[in-house]
Symmetry: C2
Subunit: 377 residues, 2 copies
């Protein structure tokens, strides 16, 4: 096991109706609140009214940054920073999924910073302060509600970059599984794949002697695998929604998914869909790096019987089970499913390794990334 430091200050308020506690939770942070949200679905579901009711009750002055994109854009973040500064916001409140929360984080760290907030994404500056941030989560996926990471797209330059900072942890996050009943079916699918992919990035590690961490990872994978069906069949299944939501929160972000980011930086496809395509191919490409871990994955997570199989056969059977599962719940397996061909492979490969080789399990250089992308076509 490697040395590490761990601290997570976010207060989680989990359960049915927990949004009714928003007012009392927000009150200590001040009177002016910048509400950040997405496409407006929170208006259709009535959540917007509920949130405003809570904020009115504590006499808050509410500013708004609506229409945050699924891959949140730098331009939107900058608009939010201006609104927050002009209105002297005391608290940034994200109501939505990972994209909305990521945008709100960028606003929170951008407000007290004199330069361009993009500096944090390209490592030109270090985050030293932030406005307080809180979240009401409406989609189980990224774990962004309980970490200090954010991914922002610079659409003009077709770049997708991330930052992470202890200052960007939410002060509190409200997790009400019932709020996820109304998410579109494909968001439930892609969100589940996103959770699993985050776990993969942690699980397929070269660090040895981490049995507890590996089993925690397997626990999250099992929980997603066992509950996504229930949520798809009956969108109002509280227990399935609660288990997906808690699984999404307990996996915590730690790295960007480099290759997929380059796809969705150029094509604006759903992040989870990109992951569904990339991950099985990445697994096939790297599995010989650490065959034992892939065998363990196949046996423990997918129940592959290793009897009569070589280690490689067992490992590949686990990878195939992964791909089949993604397809079964309704995600895509090939870039062609989105009409994407080979035309930008070189550019995506260039961008992915812009700051050097990526990945820690196997360091991927430009050619590796291109090979994996090609296998995704």
């Amino acid at each position: 096991m490697n040395s590490f430091q761990y601290q997570n200050p976010t207060r989680i308020v989990f359960g049915r109706g927990s949004v009714d506690k928003l007012g009392e939770l927000a009150k200590p942070f001040g009177t002016t609140i910048l509400l950040v949200y997405g496409s407006g679905s929170i208006k259709q579901t009535g959540l917007y009214d509920k949130v405003m009711g809570q904020l009115n009750e504590i006499g808050a002055n509410v500013l708004e940054l609506p229409a945050v994109e699924p891959n949140p854009r730098l331009s939107t973040v900058k608009k939010g920073i201006e609104i927050a500064r002009a209105g002297q916001a005391d608290l940034i409140l994200a109501v939505g999924g990972g994209s909305v929360i990521d945008a709100a984080k960028a606003v929170a760290v951008g407000v007290p910073y004199d330069g361009d907030v993009w500096d944090f994404c390209i490592r030109k500056a270090v985050i030293r302060d932030a406005l307080p941030l809180a979240t009401v989560l409406t989609l189980s996926a990224t774990g962004s509600e309980m970490n200090g990471n954010s991914v922002i797209s610079n659409w003009e330059e077709r770049q997708k970059r991330s930052f992470g900072s202890p200052f960007a942890y939410p002060k509190f996050s409200i997790l009400d599984p019932a709020l996820t009943y109304s998410v579109p079916r494909n968001h439930t699918v892609y969100g589940s794949i996103d959770i699993m992919s985050h776990v993969f990035e942690q699980y397929f590690s070269l660090t040895e002697h981490t049995p507890l961490q590996e089993r925690f990872c397997e626990s999250i994978l099992h929980t997603v695998i066992e509950n996504v069906g229930g949520a798809l069949t009956d969108p109002g299944n509280y227990e399935a929604r609660a288990n997906l939501m808690w699984a999404g929160t307990m996996q915590q972000d730690w790295a960007s998914h480099g290759i997929e980011h380059e796809i969705s930086a150029i094509y604006d496809i759903p992040h989870g869909a990109g992951l569904s395509i990339v991950f099985p191919n990445w697994m096939e490409y790297v599995h010989t790096e650490r065959l034992d871990r892939f065998v363990q994955y196949a046996v423990r997570v997918w129940g592959i019987d290793p009897a009569g199989k070589s280690d490689q056969e067992t490992a590949l059977a686990g990878i195939e089970a992964t791909r089949n599962f993604f397809t079964r719940i309704g995600a895509q397996a090939r870039l062609a499913d989105f009409g994407i061909g080979a035309e930008h492979l070189d550019r995506m490969a260039d961008e992915a390794v812009r700051f050097g080789p990526i990945g820690s399990f196997k360091r991927l250089d430009r050619q590796d990334v291109r090979n994996i992308l090609e296998s995704c076509l």
Copy 2:
């Protein structure tokens, strides 16, 4: 799944040599530090000198509360409160295992309180403030390094009581697995049983639809089961020690182990030894309350093959496997092993239910407790 709130502010600094960061970690809290420790083994191992070196380097004024007992006593806590008040301590620093940390917590919450610190243990007062607290852990066991709970013995009245408070979380905890190399063999045994017992109290729950929580519990149990042998065979096995330590920290305290407390309140036997005796008998007594959970435990944790067995047979096989494991690693199975007979059964049963029936899996009244204790003889 039930609704809940979750927050854990403790900063964990984990790894070989992490005690070398003590100075910089402690510095922000002030200049006068009350060092709390136990029997003095930290002087033999050189840890005391290392700690003092770190504290001298930052120019700290160090006060001392030595000789904290394995079941820490109220009288010792009160002595610590006096020392901290007289010397105007800024930070309480526990260097030791769960007992030392628990005592330090009681000192930390007791200093700013006008009344008797025992009030917190008997629910006569609510904790509203505390001095900052930090820990250097030398024994993997209770999770006390990452929670706000404490268990204190009032030896005069033969009572053992607990308190818990958000104010009693350590600000930081230094976890260096190498510091546990030198603990006596039986502390490694009892500490491991303590970790497992804490998990049992969470695992054997009536709450349904908690697959992730159950799998996390199983992950911790597997990690202890797989690593305790390595630590006993080779006390300097870093990886085994690291895995036990992280397992102990990741299980977090949530309730007192009521029945065992009554045994060690009267007999001063090691807490882990008491748990080793009580738990298998408690399991046998309550297993019909929720047979499915005990079957799951037997199959997933101990690999019991349910084929050809009734659910009850499978459940009982899992309980027997637990008892056998405790015995195999060197713990006791009967009170008689400590020369304890039936003479105080009634008194222990009375004390255990002093505030009403105990336990949530099955509410145990006085007769239940007496029955379980009798099966432990």
